[in-house]
Homo-oligomer: 644 residues x 2
């Protein structure tokens, strides 16, 4: 037996002893409530202990095996949910911990399997550009769904390729030759008897995607319609409808209602960002405490890489971001219920601000993709192995930057609201919600921060005002530059890169503010609030350092104050260091869910890495397939050739 394998099995025990706060209480803060924690904990263990949910072999499966494995897990999850009579919350958690998103996540409990077919081969974010047509035929009281061009084919819908029996298809509604724009239609795609595609339907998978496992588990699909007929009542007639005579009528239902769904979806995306980021950070933090490199003197052990300031400077801001995104996600849940309540009461006053806020938060929290990749690099060479879990985590997460609104497109929506708000400041219209501070723009830009020593940067008020002044300054500068253009739309196009930067500043302010608001709540548990205060400061000051040019140019801080902020940041790292392992333990992830040899709870990394390597199919034989055809001739024939 290996020497290492025989040693006691918690390499992180000493790290855990060092923690200066109550980890169990922090777990509850992270989960959101004691009840949420208990459910999450119980369901995570349930999934981890079930051999059907095993996922460590995913990257070694072929595409077909991988897809079948997904089907198997989906069916098994469905079975377990029924057998155990899980509540909706428990069932959602179960699917979350299975960590292999499938069609049943969306359509559980139906007798059909459905998907949304919106984007087309040639059309993504711009829904108005869709080409698929749904022409009403008054003779038969049907819509005829058709794909008139190659670029009109539906493309990218999850679950469409192989699984779905039905789709909500977005198509241009045509009545009597008139185009009424894009509407939704329920279309059956496959027979419920034998799953074969119905006449006029061509459907398939769009092929391999980023990574080896990742989203290759799912059948994103392509779909072509060849004059497919559906009954009139399969049009989604919530917002508008078509009469028996083929007359197009808009309903009285306010169009703003669709924003409710959008807020919901984006709130889910922000929640996923904190999950994915915390997972990557957990792996990188634990491995950074295991890995040792350089710094050995007189035969001592080398230094744990987590003790290097360069490692801390890259890792700890990401750890802080995981918490920051968690809390802003929690607040978005509240915002969703608030906006739903208002919509029900026909109060649309907060919608523009809420819409921009969720769009912007979706955009800045999905920078998690870069953060996962940074965590992977922080694990050095071994982070490049699939068994580290990080390559697949990156590949499966990164589409979040593109789907549900490309991040740059979303930031420009925020940018538009910002300059509009600035332009209305004189009119007496008072900005609300997360943009209310803009009403004090003039004051913010004139007044100076009270920062003379590094510690002054620890005051929440100082931080919030610096972020407010920066965001306000950038928005005001954009609005002023915009006024120089005779045509506003033209100016908007020319200045769009600046507008996107102003939007980032505004959204980072929101995240910082919500973190600070969280700290004003009642937080029990020894040392828990203190740790969160440190993380909040790390989050804010690392952003300030990264975007220092913005802060100084807006005139809201001096270069000297920027230097002090960096000094303070450095000293905060030393306070995070002894608590780092406990801070990632608080996420309460099982080794199954983490899916990473490097991130193992017990830190027993090296024997497991070695063990994993031997499972590769290439190691089934010591002499590789191809030796006789390709290697041996090179070794043997060279002499002969050289003698020619």
């Amino acid at each position: 037996m290996e020497k290492q394998q025989m040693e006691a099995l918690d390499y992180h025990a000493e790290e855990r002893r060092k923690a200066g706060f109550d980890v169990e209480e922090m777990k509850i803060v992270w989960a959101g409530s004691r009840k949420a924690y208990e459910i999450s904990d119980r369901v995570a263990r349930l999934v981890a202990s079930d051999p059907v949910f095993r996922k460590d072999n995913r990257t070694m499966l072929s595409r077909k095996e991988l897809f079948k494995d997904t089907l198997k897990k989906a069916a098994h999850a469905w079975k377990r949910i029924i057998e155990l009579r899980l509540s909706e919350e428990e069932a959602t958690k179960l699917r979350f911990f299975v960590d292999q998103p499938v069609f049943t996540d969306l359509h559980f409990g139906m007798q059909i399997i459905g998907c949304y077919a919106q984007t087309e081969l040639g059309h993504g974010s711009n829904v108005r550009g869709l080409e698929t047509t749904a022409s009403f035929d008054p003779q038969t009281d049907e819509f005829v769904i058709h794909s008139p061009t190659l670029t009109s084919r539906k493309w990218w819908s999850g679950g469409l390729g192989k699984v779905s029996t039905h789709a909500v298809v977005y198509a241009r509604l045509i009545t009597d030759g008139q185009d009424h724009g894009v509407h939704g239609f329920i279309v059956q795609l496959r027979s419920l008897d034998d799953h074969s595609p119905l006449p006029g339907i061509t459907v398939g998978d769009i092929g391999m995607k980023f990574g080896s496992g990742a989203y290759n588990i799912m059948d994103h699909g392509v779909l072509k319609f060849d004059y497919v007929r559906i009954p009139r009542d399969q049009m989604l007639m919530g917002v508008s409808r078509v009469t028996r005579q083929g007359k197009y009528m808009r309903s009285d239902v306010p169009r703003q209602l669709v924003y409710g769904t959008m807020v919901y979806v984006r709130q889910r995306i922000v929640a996923s960002a904190s999950s994915a980021l915390s997972r990557a950070v957990c792996i990188a933090t634990r491995y950074s405490a295991v890995r040792r490199q350089f710094g050995s003197r007189n035969g001592d052990a080398e230094t744990q890489v987590i003790d290097y300031k360069t490692q801390q400077n890259r890792l700890f801001p990401l750890l802080a971001s995981a918490y920051a995104f968690r809390f802003v996600g929690e607040w978005l849940k509240w915002l969703y219920t608030d906006v739903t309540r208002r919509l029900e009461a026909n109060d649309f006053s907060t919608l523009p601000e809420v819409h921009a806020c969720t769009a912007g938060l979706k955009s800045i929290t999905t920078t998690t993709a870069d953060a996962i990749e940074e965590c992977r690099k922080l694990c050095g060479g071994h982070g490049y192995l699939s068994s580290s879990g990080l390559p697949e985590l990156f590949a499966v997460y990164v589409p979040a930057c593109t789907y549900e609104g490309d991040n740059v497109v979303l930031l420009l929506q925020v940018g538009r609201l910002l300059v509009k708000t600035v332009s209305q400041l004189g009119s007496g219209k008072k900005p609300v919600g997360t943009i209310a501070y803009m009403g004090r723009a003039e004051h913010l830009l004139q007044c100076h921060r009270e920062v003379r020593r590094a510690e002054d940067w620890l005051k929440p008020q100082v931080i919030v005002e610096a972020f407010q002044a920066r965001a306000a300054g950038m928005a005001v500068a954009c609005a002023e530059n915009l006024n120089k253009f005779p045509n506003q739309e033209d100016g908007f196009g020319q200045l769009s890169a600046d507008l996107a930067e102003a939007a980032v500043a505004h959204c980072q302010l929101i995240v910082v503010s919500k973190f600070i608001e969280k700290l004003q709540q009642d937080i029990p548990g020894k040392g828990v609030r203190r740790q969160l205060e440190i993380l909040c400061n790390v989050y804010a000051l690392s952003l300030l350092h990264k975007h220092l040019g913005d802060f100084i140019t807006s005139g809201c801080i001096t270069p000297e104050q920027g230097v002090l902020a960096n000094e303070q940041l450095r000293s905060l790292y030393s306070q995070v260091r002894p608590n780092a392992i406990a801070l990632v333990d608080a996420f309460n992830y099982t080794d199954h869910y983490l899916g990473s040899v490097l991130g193992r709870y017990d830190g027993n990394v090296y024997p497991k890495l070695y063990e994993e390597a031997w499972k590769d199919p290439l190691n089934e034989t010591v002499v590789p397939d191809g030796y006789h055809e390709y290697i041996r001739p090179i070794l043997k024939q060279h002499i002969r050739v050289a003698r020619l």
Copy 2:
């Protein structure tokens, strides 16, 4: 037939007509010389037309098929090189365009296949920490190679797992119980008769890595020694040797000679950075001209996404970086010949500076990994498909950030030289080479940039001095902060994040300077120099905008000058726009080498995307494997369960 497929087949023809410079002459500038261009062009076509070198199916192969495919291509490349009697330069180009790195790249023309076995499971960048031992046995005149611990096992060596017959093994030399540190030993691993591992050797593949194709084509290996005996003469005795009696002796050969190899390797890495980056930029630029989104009025075509400023603001600095890295790589080739000449003449005076310079340039040019990922995002959803070529390009490129010296570790070496140089400024010792400007640090930091209008930022002198002042300012600040620590090493650790930032500033200055120096050479061809001037300015000003905080804090520019730089940058984008397609055509990549449906020369993207999708194994049947076991029960049984 599809409407689109029947249209004329150069969708970029109009873009190509718009170019304001001679593309053929630019191709020569890019290649380095007319001869280099001709060889590259001829060999690229040769590879592209050979069906054995087909690679579009790589992401669909299993690990074993993928590896066998590599062996097949390696053997075929070797055969073609001999049959066609290719020169060394041609053969190198051939292997480059095959785009599937294999063992023969390193060992062509030997009767053995060798690899380097240095890093171990527990030991990466820190060579001094290696644990493998080579103990001299004077009784038999042999070394005994042994892996004493789990963490001592060799790990990561390319070609080690399945192919190599021999390895250069780095191990601690022990004579008579005394440890002389790490030395190299040639060890035979496998039988030359049947390729089976020799007694005492355990060798295998380390398993799946990032991506589906990518480096999974190669057998990175694990290797364990169980007291393996080799003759004494298999120690590499260039620098030191062991006598028959077991006496350890250092030779007179200067140790600095190893730096020559290091400079060579890093110069190759910088050259690869420009290749990988230009490839990604070529794909993203061409697709950005094909893809249209939003902006349609009255049924016109939508706007090409390359016309959006946000797209230009992300894409054009990367296009400029590709050229910048190309030219600094060219200069590094010269630096390598210069340093080789000096080493032969026992002149080691330039070594510290050259060593730091190549380390730093390796580090900052491998940010190409992030740039590839940005190019992928610039292609929207379709960039996530393997057929875009970008996921695999990212996955195969990204280890460059880690291998041959982790990027952060390398930056700290540069940082050390910078603060050392600053501390010696008073002593009269004059800094040389790329660090010579530091001799004028005081002057640079006192004098102000002559920038009053945006156009002033187009002057090379203004740009270079701003970059010099920024780098000098950051180095001086680090040196001053370092002096506050009683213990220099302790201070170095505490300030390491700042030192790494100063190093980045210094290295970016080198790239900017070398680009400007290139422009001072004779550059024939209509409009070619003009285009390069624009790109040089885009490169420099985009960096200035990104690191504005550094520039202002160092006092070298005012916030107002920073705003002017951004204005100038924006107007440069409009000058790049009409030339963008021609600027990537100048890389002269074949569609085979690009390996991207989105980056096709003819822009005929959509029909090919559609065609590629159907090749996925999942599309072999319309009803997927697993339907009867997992999908049908969900569709059919739900009713029964729900009635329970």
